[in-house]
C-alpha cells in the first residue's frame, strides 16, 4: 500500500496589495478543500479520480477563485469556462471548453471521459452533452459576480486586449505585450486585476 497525498491551487499571480481579509478567505477555502480531500483519502473509500473531482467541484462552487461561480469575464462580459480531468492509471482524460451554463465544468469533463466516445467537447456541443447528461445548469447571472464586472472594467481601461504577448509592442497600438521585466504586469494586464486569480 502506498501513501496518499493531495495538493490544491487557486491560481498564480496575485495582487501584491490583496487585502488581508481576502487572503484569509482564500486560505480558509484552500484549507477546507485540502481537509475534504484528505479525509476522503484517509478513509480510502474514494479513488484519486473521485477526490480530484470532489475537491475541484468545491472550488468551482465558491466564488473566491476564478472558476465556476466567480469566473472572470470575456471581452463581451460573458463567461466561458473550461476544465479537464485526467486519470493517471489508464491515462484517460476528459475536457470541456466554452461553457456558460454548467455549474460544475469538472464533472462534465469527467462525463465526457466516461460517457462519450470522445475526450474533449466544446461550446454548443458541450452544452448539448450537458443537457443530455442532466448535469446541473444555471442562469448566466449565477456565474457573474460584481467583482468580476469591476475587474473587466479595469482591464478594459488598461486597454489590455490579450494577444500573444510576444507580439512586438511597436505598431500594434491596441496590443499590450507583457513587460517581462515589469513585475506588476501579467499577460498585458496590471496585476491588480488578477486579485482572486
Amino acid at each position: 500500500m502506498g501513501r496518499w497525498a493531495i495538493a490544491v491551487h487557486g491560481g498564480a499571480g496575485i495582487d501584491p496589495k490583496l487585502p488581508l481579509e481576502r487572503q484569509e478567505k482564500a486560505k480558509h477555502l484552500l484549507a477546507r478543500c485540502v481537509n475534504l480531500g484528505a479525509s476522503a483519502l484517509r478513509t480510502n473509500n474514494l479513488s484519486a479520480l473521485d477526490v480530484v473531482e470532489l475537491v475541484v467541484r468545491e472550488l468551482e462552487t465558491d466564488p473566491v477563485f476564478n472558476s465556476g461561480q466567480g469566473s472572470v469575464l470575456t471581452e463581451k462580459g460573458t463567461v466561458e469556462m473550461e476544465a479537464s480531468i485526467m486519470d493517471g492509471l489508464k491515462r484517460r482524460f476528459g475536457a470541456v471548453s466554452g461553457l456558460s451554463t454548467v455549474k460544475n465544468p469538472i464533472s462534465l469533463a469527467r462525463l465526457v471521459m466516461e460517457k462519450s466516445p470522445h475526450s474533449y467537447l466544446a461550446f454548443s456541443g458541450a452544452e448539448e452533452f450537458a443537457r443530455q447528461q442532466g448535469v446541473e445548469m444555471m442562469e448566466n447571472e449565477y456565474f457573474i459576480t460584481q467583482d468580476n464586472v469591476g475587474m473587466l472594467k479595469q482591464a478594459k481601461e488598461a486597454n489590455a486586449i490579450l494577444f500573444d504577448y510576444r507580439i512586438p509592442t511597436t505598431g500594434l497600438e491596441n496590443c499590450c505585450a507583457v513587460e517581462a521585466d515589469n513585475p506588476t504586469m501579467m499577460n498585458g494586464l496590471p496585476m491588480s486585476v488578477y486579485a482572486p486569480e
Partner: protein
Amino acid sequence: TVGCVVVDKEGRCAAATSTGGLINKMVGRIGDSPIIGSGTYACKLCAISCTGEGEAILRGTLARDVAAVMEYKDLRLQEAVNFVIKERLDDGGKAGLIAVSNNGEVAYGFNTNGMFRGSATEDGFTEIGIWE
C-alpha cells in the same frame, strides 16, 4: 484557475483543473487548463495541475514536461517541478503548478509573486500558502 492533484493509497494519480480563463479574453479563446499535457496531466508516475499565463503554459507543455523529466532525466518530483518552472517558461512567461508523485510526495513551483496553494500528505505534513 483552480486545480487539484491526488495520489491515493493504491498509488493511483489523478489531476483536475477548472477555470474561467483570462479577464477580457477574446470570445472563443482556449487556454491551457483543458489541454492535456499543458495545464493538466496524470500518468502512473505523477499528476500535475498548472495555472497562470495560459499561452506560455501551452507553449511549454508544462504539465507533461514534469512527468517527462522525471521519466527521462530521473529527477525527483520537486527537482522536476523546479526544472520545468525554470527552463520551460519562455521569456516572461508567468505560471505556477502543483504536483504529486505515486510514492506520496507533493511539490509545487511558481515564478509569479505568489500562488494560492494547499497540500497534505499521509505522514501528517500540511501546508496552506499564498506568497513565496
